[in-house]
């Protein structure tokens, strides 16, 4: 397998990404991983060892809700969906992120 250059996620970014991915509907852990890989063109790497604890953390904080359902190939899978609090949190973190990246870009451009 050819190895591409991969970027480790910034602290806290993973949770933002998860919230964003869940905005369009409930997903299970495997789906979330595939989508991160797909959308980022294999640039962002997430390991299960990081993803699942993050999901549990979000569930514990009430930002996502979890329920059991059938996966695509009809197996018992745990699906995560955004709660109202999660939606709010996503909104807030998107703004923070925009301000942060805007500031970094401005620095990189003009400094």
């Amino acid at each position: 397998m050819a190895r591409k250059q991969k970027a480790d996620l910034l602290q806290g970014t993973l949770e933002l990404l998860v919230l964003r991915l869940l905005q369009s509907g409930a997903l299970n852990g495997w789906d979330i991983m595939q989508r991160i890989r797909l959308v980022s063109g294999d640039v962002l790497s997430v390991t299960p060892g990081a993803l699942y604890p993050a999901l549990h953390r979000l569930e514990e904080r009430g930002l996502v809700a979890a329920g059991w359902g059938a996966s695509d190939n009809n197996r018992r899978a745990k699906f995560y969906s955004l709660t109202a609090a999660g939606r709010k949190q996503l909104q807030a973190e998107r703004q923070t992120w925009a301000r942060f990246t805007g500031a970094v870009e401005a620095l990189l451009r003009d400094a």
Binding site: P48, G49, P53, R75, A77
Partner: protein, 888 residues
């Protein structure tokens, strides 16, 4: 073996629903990844391996997920509990031993606490009862005497520290009339502030008015709830009725509430209350050198005991200046009411509580030791769990859950035992232990038991948990656990040494009390209690107003009782042994008279003819009283040998005869000593010996004769059963006058047993504690030695192959056990020497450093330790050599 362990651990870890969900979630991920690799063309085996690799640390991920849950502890608790439960079931024998050990330890503590709580800690049932105090007077010879009434009046007028002060005097008499049987009652004459000072409200009616509390006031009475129920069936109209007390009509003005508890409800002089002020005309109420009243006072809010003491001392000092003849050298004391009430129980209870703490500590040490022993056999399991990614804190928590579960089971058993014990204690405790009837297993006690249980669980669990979870991984995986047990062994031996030390201290205390009791039982009371029945006769004041009315009745009654078949002799006295006593000031032979409160005191009894024969008191010189020693005859007295030793030292007993002694207040006539009898232990077998003087009742000072004569004790010696004697006497008295009440009916032997009740009670409890501690020690020693034998099987095998004989092996192992015990025993003996002074107050006839007790306890422990080590040693010596050497 390893695989089985692994399976068990995994099962335990995944037993809850949350765990199952977590497992499923991650498993799905692995499966999907594997399928993806399969589709990429890998073989199933390759795909599975690749998926696992890609996943990276399945167990770590699980742990991280568990950690993500903020309430991990709570979530894991049911899981931990279930796992702990399984471990306890697996080691059922161990669980049983631990449970019983803890049950006994916690039970003893909780039961004892219930007693301490009821007796020492619970406040008295009066508002702000910590401000209630008892005031007494203090002279050099009588540190704790009652108070002169004029002194009380001055104190009350001048005090700045007390908001209320009341005087009380114990009275007794006969209630009659109202169509109910005449009844002997005891109560108090009190000044009108008494109930207000206590803060006690009446259930019905009112207390006394100022006019009633004066000489010549209307005769009124407050009755107890019990008397109200007994005599008036709880009728509210009882208030306002007239009843006859000592033959005089008294109006009932109030009824006390059922909860009224002044110096104990069951054991008290609380039947009736009458105004004390009406007695003011009595001469003894006007003298400053006579001290009849007890003073109850309430300190002002915010006043400390120290300030109250300073205030009262200043008052006493100024009175001493104003009345030097009577009050010179008279100080005053302030004692909290509760302490005055339970004072002498404090020491005994403290010792018992200390003993129960020692027992619990020993139990904890034992359990810790057992868990340590098991810990080493669980090292592999723990190591596997650590290898699977469990954190150390998690394992410690799991192990602590286990010990807390153990302690909870033990605690439940302990509470059950305490419940049984508290019931027994409340019932069988001797009367001398006041407030014991209040012993119950209430929420305070249960809370104490629960706290003890938790602390216990942590105490015995923490060392094994830390030790076990600290295993070096590779070491355990490589060696099969044998090489790493050194640290644990030292810890276990240290624990046994400590345990033995505690046990020795406890046993020495117990031993000293056993020896005291033995001394006490051997003590000769000075009289012969067998076949003696005693009782008290009370002649109602109103019908027996003069000497001339009293004396013939006593005479007639004595004759009638003497005529009852089976009665060998009968005699009247002012106080039989183990009943009342009267201490009188006197002038010893050949000495000048002294002021009354400085003169020596003697136990004084006014007795009828033949008293010494009736009680079996030995005559050492001279004679006893006869009918010829009557009023008008030459005044005589009999003294005891203690009197002779103290006041006529160096004289032959025969030379004591003919000396003269003078009783202060008794008309002060010099009396010729006509006999010397043996000293008797009047109040109890352990009392301090005070010299005794006997006076013929017929020769008592006339005004005293009336007082004494209206309440005489009857002592009867007979060859027939006590019940028959008593019913015969009752019948004789009833035939003579149906309104004469008899009370305090008992045999001297029973009274003697009762007088030792409190001591016996303490002793039995301590014996139980000591025995339990010894048993726990044996278990501890046996456990450590047999564990060390099992660890050294191979070494012992080698030794024996090289020519060591079985005796050598036994000697080696027993020697090791004994070394632990001797170390512990030395420590225990030293602490016992240091603690000895604490229990000195409980001892009788034996010194706190009694070498015999110390030696016997140490010998006992050595023998027990040798026996406990011998069994495992024998097993080791009987080893199958080949098997031992083969063992890996």
């Amino acid at each position: 073996m390893l695989r089985r362990l692994l399976r068990r651990v995994r099962a335990a870890l995944t037993s809850t629903r949350a765990e199952r969900d977590l497992r499923d979630e991650l498993q799905l991920h692995l499966d999907l990844q594997t399928e993806q690799f399969l589709r990429a063309g890998m073989t199933p085996a390759e795909a599975r391996a690749a998926a696992l690799r890609e996943f990276g640390g399945l167990e770590q991920a699980r742990e991280a997920c568990r950690d993500a849950r903020g309430l991990a502890v709570l979530r894991e608790l049911p899981q931990d509990l279930r796992y702990a439960g399984r471990m306890l079931r697996r080691d059922f024998g161990l669980t049983l031993v631990v449970m019983t050990t803890l049950g006994v330890g916690i039970g003893a503590n909780t039961a004892l606490f219930s007693v301490v709580d009821a007796v020492l800690l619970k406040p008295l049932p009066f508002p702000d009862s910590d401000r209630l105090v008892i005031l007494k007077e203090q002279t050099a010879s009588r540190p704790n005497r009652a108070v002169a009434f004029p002194d009380f009046l001055d104190w009350r007028a001048r005090t700045s520290a007390f908001e209320d002060m009341a005087a009380a005097l114990i009275v007794g008499g006969v209630l009659s009339g109202d169509g109910v049987d005449a009844e002997r009652v005891f109560g108090r004459a009190v000044t009108r502030e008494f109930f207000a000072t206590l803060g006690a409200a009446l259930a019905l009616g009112r207390t006394f008015t100022a006019d009633e509390d004066q000489p010549g006031g209307a005769r009124v009475m407050v009755i107890s709830h019990a008397v109200w129920l007994r005599r008036y069936g709880g009728d509210r109209r009882a208030v306002g009725r007239a009843t006859s007390y000592n033959g005089e009509s008294h109006t009932i003005v109030g009824v006390l509430p059922e909860t009224f508890d002044y110096y104990g409800r069951t054991n008290a002089n609380n039947d009736i209350f009458v105004p004390l002020g009406q007695l003011k005309t009595q001469s003894y109420m006007q003298r400053r050198d006579s001290s009849p009243v007890l003073v109850l006072a309430r300190m002002k809010a915010g006043v400390t005991l120290e300030r109250a003491r300073a205030d009262l001392s200043a008052l006493a000092a100024s009175l001493a200046q104003e009345h030097p003849a009577t009050n010179g050298g008279v100080g005053a004391t302030v004692t909290p009411l509760l302490e005055d009430y339970v004072g002498d129980m404090r020491l005994a209870l403290s010792v018992l509580l200390g003993a129960s703490w020692l027992l619990l500590t020993i139990a904890c040490v034992n359990v810790a030791n057992l868990l340590l022993a098991r810990a080493s056999s669980r090292r592999q399991e723990i190591a596997v769990r650590l290898a699977l990614g469990a954190r150390r804190g998690r394992i410690v928590r799991q192990l602590l859950t286990e010990s807390l579960l153990l302690s909870s089971i033990g605690g439940a058993l302990g509470l059950f035992l305490a419940w049984i014990a508290a019931g027994w204690l409340a019932q069988s405790a001797p009367i001398a232990l006041s407030r014991m009837e209040e012993v119950v297993l209430d929420w305070r006690v249960v809370l104490f038991g629960a706290a003890t249980t938790t602390i216990t669980g942590l105490a015995f669990g923490i060392a094994p948990a830390l030790q076990t979870s600290g295993v070096e991984l590779q070491q355990v995986m490589r060696a099969s656990g044998r090489a790493v047990s050194g640290g644990g062994k030292r810890l276990r031996e240290a624990l046994v040494v400590g345990q033995v030390a505690l046990c020795v201290a406890l046993l020495i205390a117990t031993g000293l009390l056993v020896r005291s009791f033995q001394r006490l039982v051997e003590q000769d009371p000075g009289y012969d209690p067998a076949n003696v029945v005693t009782m008290r006769l009370r002649l109602p004041d109103a019908r027996y107003r003069t000497r001339e009315q009293v004396l013939p009745v006593l005479d007639a009654l004595t004759k009638r009782i003497a005529a009852i078949p089976g009665i060998d002799s009968v005699s009247l006295t002012s106080g039989v042994p183990l009943g009342r006593r009267s201490d009188q000031a006197f002038v010893p032979p050949g000495r000048p008279a002294e002021r009354r409160d400085r003169a020596p005191l003697a136990l004084t009894q006014w007795v009828g003819p033949g008293y010494h024969q009736t009680l079996g008191i030995g005559v050492l010189a001279g004679r006893t009283f006869t009918a010829a020693d009557r009023a008008g005859a030459a005044p005589v007295a009999i003294v005891d040998d203690e009197f002779a030793r103290r006041y006529l030292p160096g004289r032959e007993l025969a030379a004591v005869l003919g000396q003269r002694v003078r009783l202060l207040g008794d008309g002060e006539v010099p009396r010729e000593i006509v006999g010397v009898v043996r000293h008797i232990h009047h109040s109890s077998l352990e009392e301090d010996s005070r010299a005794e003087i006997y006076i013929p009742f017929d020769q008592a000072e006339p005004t005293w004769q009336l007082e004494i004569g209206r309440a005489m004790d009857i002592a009867v010696r007979s060859g027939v059963a006590a019940e028959a004697v008593v019913s015969g006497i009752r019948a004789a008295i009833r035939a003579f006058d149906p309104e004469l009440p008899l009370s305090h009916v008992t045999t001297l032997e029973a009274a003697l047993d009762r007088s030792m009740g409190a001591r016996l009670f303490n002793l039995v409890l301590l014996l139980v504690f000591g025995g339990a501690a010894l048993l726990l020690c044996v278990v501890g020693i046996y456990g450590v030695v047999s564990y060390s034998v099992s660890q050294r099987t191979r070494e012992i095998g080698v030794r024996m192959t090289l020519g060591a004989r079985p005796e050598d092996v036994v000697r080696m192992i027993v020697g090791r056990g004994l070394r632990m015990v001797l170390l512990g025993a030395a420590g225990g003996a030293i602490s016992a020497l240091m603690l000895a002074r604490l229990i000195e107050g409980l001892l009788f006839g034996v010194r706190a450093r009694d070498p015999i007790t110390f030696a016997s306890v140490l010998a006992l422990l050595t023998i027990v330790a040798a026996a406990a080590s011998y069994l495992p040693a024998r097993r080791a010596a009987g080893l199958d050599l080949a098997a031992a050497l083969r063992q890996d």
